[in-house]
């Protein structure tokens, strides 16, 4: 039901999430924020058990901000993703694990490379060129497979994302309202209207 997107390009990562808050078959709210900016060049998208996502994402966000303040060094997306994976893996083996799926997008300012990490609620993590969480994955991964290239520009990336969203709207029985799009590149994170 919830859908998260991540698409890497030449020097950026585009992310998108549907802004619905759903309980069972009822739409409770639109305009739900399913992302958190972890530092200047990393952000996290989450879906899954409502509440768990926000709780976990803010826990990670604050730990990463604390780390930045303490040591004056911005953590790389890889370090951020590894840390989040470790926390999720530890939680998985506790009495009450977090039930969240994540996409972590970032731009590594040291290597000048965009990075996207896909992580599920069992804390298996992989670095990927593009990824989708939720039912949307069944419809969009084939599209992304066909049209994604390593060196796409931002406009091409947004077009590809729009193609995916159009497909969702025509195929998925659920009503797919607005998507919130965030792009991370060397200059940081920004919200984009599509």
């Amino acid at each position: 039901m919830e859908t998260l997107f991540g698409i890497t390009g030449k020097d950026f990562v585009i992310t998108a999430y549907d802004s619905k808050a759903v309980a069972s078959i009822t739409l409770m709210k639109t305009g739900e924020d399913k992302s958190r900016d972890l530092n200047a060049h990393s952000l996290m998208l989450f879906s899954g058990e409502p509440g768990d996502g926000v709780h976990f994402a803010e826990y990670i966000e604050r730990n990463i901000k604390l780390n930045g303040i303490r040591h004056g060094i911005e953590m790389s997306p890889k370090a951020v993703a590894s840390f989040a994976r470790r926390e999720l893996a530890d939680s998985l083996r506790s009495r009450k694990p977090y039930s969240v799926n994540l996409l972590i997008a970032g731009f590594d300012v040291k290597t000048n490379k965009p990075e996207l990490y896909w992580m599920d609620h069992l804390a298996s993590s992989a670095e990927i060129p593009f990824g989708v969480h939720g039912y949307g994955a069944y419809y969009c991964l084939s599209l992304l497979d066909r049209y994604h290239r390593e060196d796409i520009t931002e406009e091409e990336g947004i077009k590809l994302l729009q193609k995916c969203i159009t497909e969702l709207r025509s195929r998925l029985i659920l009503n797919m309202p607005d998507f919130v799009v965030k792009i991370v590149n060397k200059d940081g994170i920004r919200v984009v209207q599509i």
């Binding site: 040591h71 060094i73 953590m75 790389s76 890889k78 370090a79 590894s82 840390f83 470790r86 040291k110």
Partner: protein
Amino acid sequence: MVEYAMEAISHASTALGILAKDGLVIAAEKKVASKLLDETKSGEKIYIIHDNMICGVAGITSDANILINYVQTAAQQFLYTFNEDMPCEQLVQKLCDLKQGYTQYGGLRPFGVSFIYGGWDEHHGFQLYHSDPSGNYSGWKATCIGANTASAQGILRQEYKEDGMTLQEAKNLAIKVLSKTMDTTSLGSDKLEFATLELVNGKVERRIFNQAEIEALLKENNLFNKTEEAK
């Protein structure tokens, strides 16, 4: 208590570090107390903390072992959590936090060791740090701990090139300083420990010199023949 520990270190055998543009050197003097004393198989003065970091020790070796074990574990824990090497200064700070703790709480004595740390990380490149038993640490271009620090640092101050040295120059300077400040007249490979860090194809390469390599280095600096004559 800390003052006593510092005093004890100023009598311990010397260790020094020099930062170069393309690497760094850590060198140390081993005091040979008796000619019956055999070499331990592992080094006594220079230790590996992590893939990207080495350190030189002056003070009580048994205390140093505890601290090195602690900081090696910390570096691995960081790698385990973040899948990246721990930044050098964070490692130094971690160790110093432990040292500081022993200066504050009653009933325990502080660790009687000073360290010279040499490391490389992607944030600040090559770095050289010094820490004392109180848990203070500071960054240096070239520094020295143990006996004869005053005269060693004098030579370092004079000969260190502000605009940066090459690793080779740093190695030569390290040998020169040790040859001038060591109490013994003869400088042999059995009395020295020597290690370098440099970048090879963008990766850190550690080199802990063995006896033959140290002898070669002494020969390069025309110090080896002298020692042979002295014998």
